[in-house]
Amino acid sequence: MQAKNSNNAWGLLLLIPFVALLWVPFYNRAEPAVAGFPFFYWYQFLWIPLTSLLIYIVHRRTK
């Protein structure tokens, strides 16, 4: 059907959340805190919309 072929390189964007969230030492810290949330927590929350956005971009580019 759709997908695959042509724009395969866009799919690499899908790997970014894996790196961002599985490389734990990068975000296992309290500062900078935002609205009372230590970095560890708001960073993970932030990656929810970012992941959606990345998937959306890949979705648009691989139709």
Partner: protein
């Protein structure tokens, strides 16, 4: 827990329970079709669009047990319990890349289960049976755990004994029998809206009452400092690999379960699943907020040894009684949706890949649906008996092992839909599966039923999720086995 029945809370609870019961039975008339056919009963006729699939998968993947267990873990250990968040984020790029292909293959060939897919693509009947067996084995304790979630909510309302739980579950069994996947799909909508309402109310009201998130985190930090050990607002260095490996392993396993796959296969199109990979993370926000309830409970001064009561105690403490009834109804209904879908997924597997393979391979479509309906009934009654007669610990331990087991079906499923850079054979995959299952089970027993194992490598020790260790062994043996036994097995 105080066994004091609050009549207002109870009335609200019963009203909502009645509402979903009616919906459950009405669902048989929704998108009218012949429910005596398996793909109609068990997959909703594969015609759910983006929105229904979103509610269905959301209601299915983020279960009532999650709502009890995640805050319980966060309450007990802090940051380490938060692995559920990265887990339910990275699962979506995976879903986006893999699940549309699974849908496509299954739709093109009329497969209704993962084992159908494996049997059709690898032509290895024992491998398909292994996948079906694993799916059944992993799902049964998961259904039992939904009952644990329900029981916690029902008991918090002031009931003692298991009779209310049994009644609720029998009602569920009856409308699943008559309406099939349409019932949880319809109820999922109500369930999700209710859970969103409860969680949003909690994350707004609790900080206002307690003095902001800064205070909540501070209170939790103090409690963990006093408690000591492997707890805290941040991870100890030795907890980072367990955290990451649990997140990765759980994410890879999540959509191998029969209930999540049922949700995927019931959708209307390739595009529906791709869109849902973008939209479903909204539920992860909800899950993250639910996890925070664990810290809120600490800050609200809730002290209990039985951590599964953390959320009910918090609800009882902060909400007015009518909203307490609403919240417990939300948790209970939240258990019904996944329990229904899990039993349907298990029934599809049993009918197609156990009964249909070994007992009668000439089943008519009607006979298939009849067997599946009866199986779904049997599976739910089995889960009920399990919870009523055996210690809850058994269900928790088995569900933990279920995650490790189901992960071992990943190579067979992925290689059925994706091009693999080296030759792979059904027999190689089967050898890999056996290795992963045996190693995973053995390691889990060896660690006293904990999900993590300590591996000594070059004078260092690494603590890592057993599921991933078993998967690596599985892949290695699959590769070697495929070299040694390259030709395809007997056509299945």
């Amino acid at each position: 827990m105080t066994p004091q029945i609050d009549w207002i809370a109870l009335t609200v609870f019963l009203l909502f329970f009645l509402l979903v019961t009616i919906l459950g039975f009405l669902a048989a008339r929704w998108k009218v079709a012949d429910l005596n056919l398996l793909h109609e009963w068990g997959l909703g006729g594969n015609r759910f669009g983006t929105i229904i699939t979103w509610f269905l998968l959301g209601g299915d993947f983020y279960t009532a047990y999650t709502m009890i267990a995640v805050p319980a873990l966060v309450y007990a250990v802090g940051a380490a319990g938060f692995f559920a968040l990265p887990y339910t984020i990275i699962v979506y790029p995976f879903v986006f890349a893999i699940m549309p292909r699974v849908w496509q293959k299954c739709r093109a060939n009329g497969y209704l289960t993962a084992a159908d897919l494996v049997r059709g693509e690898h032509r290895q009947i024992w491998l398909a049976t292994a996948v079906a067996f694993t799916g059944l084995l992993a799902t049964m304790p998961y259904i039992a755990l939904q009952l644990v979630g329900m029981r916690v909510a029902i008991q918090a309302l002031g009931f003692t004994g298991d009779l209310p739980l049994a009644i609720a579950f029998v009602i569920l069994a009856l409308y699943t029998y008559s309406s099939g996947l349409r019932a949880p799909a319809m109820i999922a909508f109500v369930k999700d809206v209710m859970i969103y309402a409860v969680v949003l109310a909690a994350v707004v009201i609790v900080p206002v009452k307690l003095g902001g998130y800064g205070y909540i985190f501070q209170a939790a930090d103090q409690a963990f400092t006093a408690k000591g050990g492997a707890t805290g607002l941040l991870l100890h260095p030795a907890q980072m690999l367990p955290f990451a490996s649990l997140a990765l392993g759980s994410a890879l396993a999540a959509f191998m379960y029969p209930h999540t796959l049922t949700g995927v296969l019931s959708s209307r199109s390739f595009e529906t699943i791709r869109r849902n990979a973008i939209l479903l993370p909204a539920y992860t926000v909800l899950l993250g907020l639910i996890a925070l309830l664990g810290f809120m409970a600490i800050a609200a001064g809730i002290r209990t040894k039985d951590t599964s009561t953390v959320v009910p105690l918090l609800i009882l403490k902060i909400f007015p009684n009518w909203f307490v009834g609403f919240s417990f109804a939300a948790i209970t209904i939240g258990a019904l949706v996944p329990a229904a879908i899990m039993s349907i997924g298990a029934a599809n597997l049993f009918t197609r890949n156990i009964w249909g393979t070994f007992i009668n391979d000439q089943l008519s479509a009607r006979a298939e649906a009849r067997i599946a309906k009866l199986t779904s009934l049997a599976v739910k009654l089995g889960a009920l008996a399990f919870i009523v007669f055996l210690p809850t610990e058994y269900a928790i331990d088995l569900q933990l092992m279920g995650g490790i087991w189901i992960l071992q079906t990943l190579p067979a499923v992925i290689s059925a839909v994706c091009p693999i850079p080296f030759r792979i054979s059904g027999r190689g995959l089967l050898a890999g599966w056996v290795t992963g299952m045996v190693l995973g089970t053995w390691l889990t027993f060896g660690t006293g039923l904990k999900p993590l194992v300590v591996l000594p490598v070059l004078q260092q020790t690494y603590t890592i999720y057993i599921g991933l260790v078993a998967l690596v062994a599985n892949l290695a043996i699959t590769w070697v086995g495929s070299l040694l036994a390259p030709e395809r097995g007997v056509a299945g």
